[in-house]
Amino acid sequence: MTAVTCIELCKTYRQGDQEIKALDHASIDIGEGGFVCLSAPSGGGKTTLLNAIGGLDIPDSGEVWIAGKRIDNLGKGELANLRLHKIGYVFQAYNLVPVLSARENVEFVMQVQGVPAGQRAEKSMAILKEVGLQGLEDRRPAEMSGGQQQRVAVARAIVSRPALVLADEPTANLDSKTSDALMELFVQLNKTHGTTFVIATHDQRVMGYAKRLIKMLDGRIVDDIDQQAA
């Protein structure tokens, strides 16, 4: 079974009298346990595609299937459930709730899921340690650097071990050392748990970790490279 299937996705934005094709008949197929990088210059449609895959945005046409289930025709409530239980997100721009500490942000999704407090604490402490934020658990986002905030977001995305993780430029605010550490963590999770990763990026280092590299331009898929063979 494939983890993600997109068939002929189109999405057009209108700005004034100009039409912008954010997705232009984009089709992809990602198998379970895939580790895929979406690479495109800024404005290439990465975020739009991730939002469509993640059930945040409905494409104008085409189909989206997640784990064998078609999702582009689901209602709002079902989509919310899907996002809550099946997918981990690292968003491009805004990730953390300002009034919650690092640990509370990491626990947020689990709390909404209804995971008991003891279990939540254990998992969140472990994952924060894994992303190198030990000792910063009680800091609010405003008391952390951009890179630290980004790692909290990553920790939240992977803490409940979703089958699919969508990360939109997760290393944008990180130095090369932390970027590497983060990517190694992703690779590790991919190996041990079979978690599928779809990572949008224009960072060459990140692409180096991917098993598969999908290149986009102006909303179209222009290249699909299997990097494992190489």
């Binding site: 975020t47 899907l82 996002r83 997100y89 968003f91 721009a93 805004y94 709730v97 009034v99 909404v112």
Partner: protein
């Protein structure tokens, strides 16, 4: 209820993000609640005084007459039972206080002038606990017993008649056979009342003396009973009705004096209107505060929704935030109002403005009265209407688009 937990945490923390705004809002709610409760207590205190005065001015809590007496009060509408039978049964029933009266329209004549009045033949010993007159004698003495051959009249009436303490007057009325019945009395006491009408229209004499004069020995036409609280007279009405049986009219004070009775009902309506008006003033601030708070949080609310939180949870979160504001305001407001009422428990001197109030029968010392009913009402009004008012900003928040929140850089 994990959801409730996280929603409350978020609501509480968000509340204190903008200290100043929150504190201003809580102060506004506090003042509003204080005004609702304290002003109501003042109004209640005023009405209380009026009703107590009114009741002391004669009605008692429950009255018994022959049927139709209120429409045609006079000597022809006597109670069917004898005075001494009434005494025996009412004494045995153990009321807090009660008294039998004979009450007829009459004309009083001095050497100079004459006036129409209501003549009360009373048992002064029993009336001491019921009417104001015994305590408000300013000259001379109150009647001593039912055989007393003196009368007590109001200061104003004495002035009108150009007579004074110690002088004689003649009272004239009709007996049951429509024959003129008259007799001379000496003025032994002069009373003052808060209402001028009382002073000009009431004249008190011994009950036996009047019975003799009107040629109705051993009969009365009014019995007055006092319970322990004017707000709770229904049990007394029932007890009296059981005691006297059918054939007579048993009326609570608010039917005897319908002006007083109406005032109580109007008061209840007025209290509710007052509370709602204060609340409406508050609600503008409340809704405004919430709209601003929600507007500032477009992104994090969108984020939470993007992560899978349902719109209803967002809505609830904002309503909880509003409830927290309201509860804090209510808590402080209730305490302040209670403290204010306690601080003024010895009464507020309103004699400066009292001159204008006398026509309402209010006294010049005002005792604010806090009732559980009013306090609960104020709290319920604020909580329920407050929740309703917060629904619109909360609804707006729950409609936010998560994409906007997470993609805008």
């Amino acid at each position: 209820m994990y959801m409730l937990r996280i929603m409350s945490t978020l609501a509480w923390r968000n509340l204190w993000r903008n200290h100043r705004r929150t504190i201003i809002m809580i102060s506004a709610i506090t003042i509003g609640v204080w005004a609702m409760i304290f002003m109501t207590a003042l109004m209640r205190g005023m009405v209380n005084e009026m009703v107590r005065d009114g009741i002391r001015a004669l009605p008692g809590h429950v009255q018994i007459h022959g049927r139709g007496f209120l429409d045609d009060p006079g000597i022809n509408n006597l109670l069917p039972m004898k005075d001494e039978d009434v005494t025996a049964s009412f004494d045995a029933a153990g009321f807090d206080a009660w008294a039998g009266r004979i009450r007829v329209p009459a004309v009083v004549t001095s050497e100079r002038d004459s006036r129409g009045i209501t003549l009360y033949g009373i048992d002064p010993v029993r009336e001491r606990d019921i009417t104001f007159v015994a305590g408000d004698i300013v000259e001379g003495r109150f009647l001593e017993d039912a055989d007393d051959s003196g009368v007590v009249i109001g200061r104003k009436l004495a002035d009108n008649l150009e007579t004074e303490l110690g002088k004689r007057i003649v009272i004239m009325s009709q007996d049951p056979d429509n024959e003129i019945a008259d007799r001379g009395f000496r003025i032994v006491g002069i009373f003052e009342a808060r209402l001028e009408a009382y002073e000009t229209s009431m004249l008190f004499a011994g009950k036996s003396a009047i019975q003799k004069m009107l040629n109705v020995p051993d009969r009365i036409n009014e019995v007055v009973v006092l319970g322990d609280d004017y707000r709770n007279v229904d049990p007394v009405v029932r007890k009296v009705t059981d005691l006297v049986g059918p054939g007579v009219e048993v009326l609570p004070w608010y039917e005897v004096d319908s002006y007083l009775g109406t005032m109580m009902t109007v008061m209840d309506g007025f209290v509710l209107v007052w509370m709602i008006v204060v609340f409406l003033a508050l609600s503008f601030g409340l809704v405004n505060t919430l709209v601003m708070a929600v507007f500032e949080r477009v992104r994090e609310i969108g984020l939470m929704m993007a992560l899978g939180m349902r719109p209803t949870s967002i809505l609830l979160q904002i309503v909880i935030e509003s409830l927290l504001l309201l509860l804090l305001g209510l808590l402080i407001g209730n305490v302040l109002a209670g403290a204010t009422v306690y601080w003024l428990r010895d009464g507020i001197d309103i004699s400066v403005v009292a001159a204008g109030m006398e026509m309402f029968g209010a006294s010049s010392l005002l005792y604010p009265q806090l009732t559980a009913h009013d306090v609960v009402l104020a709290n319920v009004v604020v909580l329920i209407l407050g929740s309703i008012a917060s629904l619109s900003p909360a609804w707006r928040a729950s409609r936010y688009d998560p994409i906007e929140a997470i993609t805008k850089v």
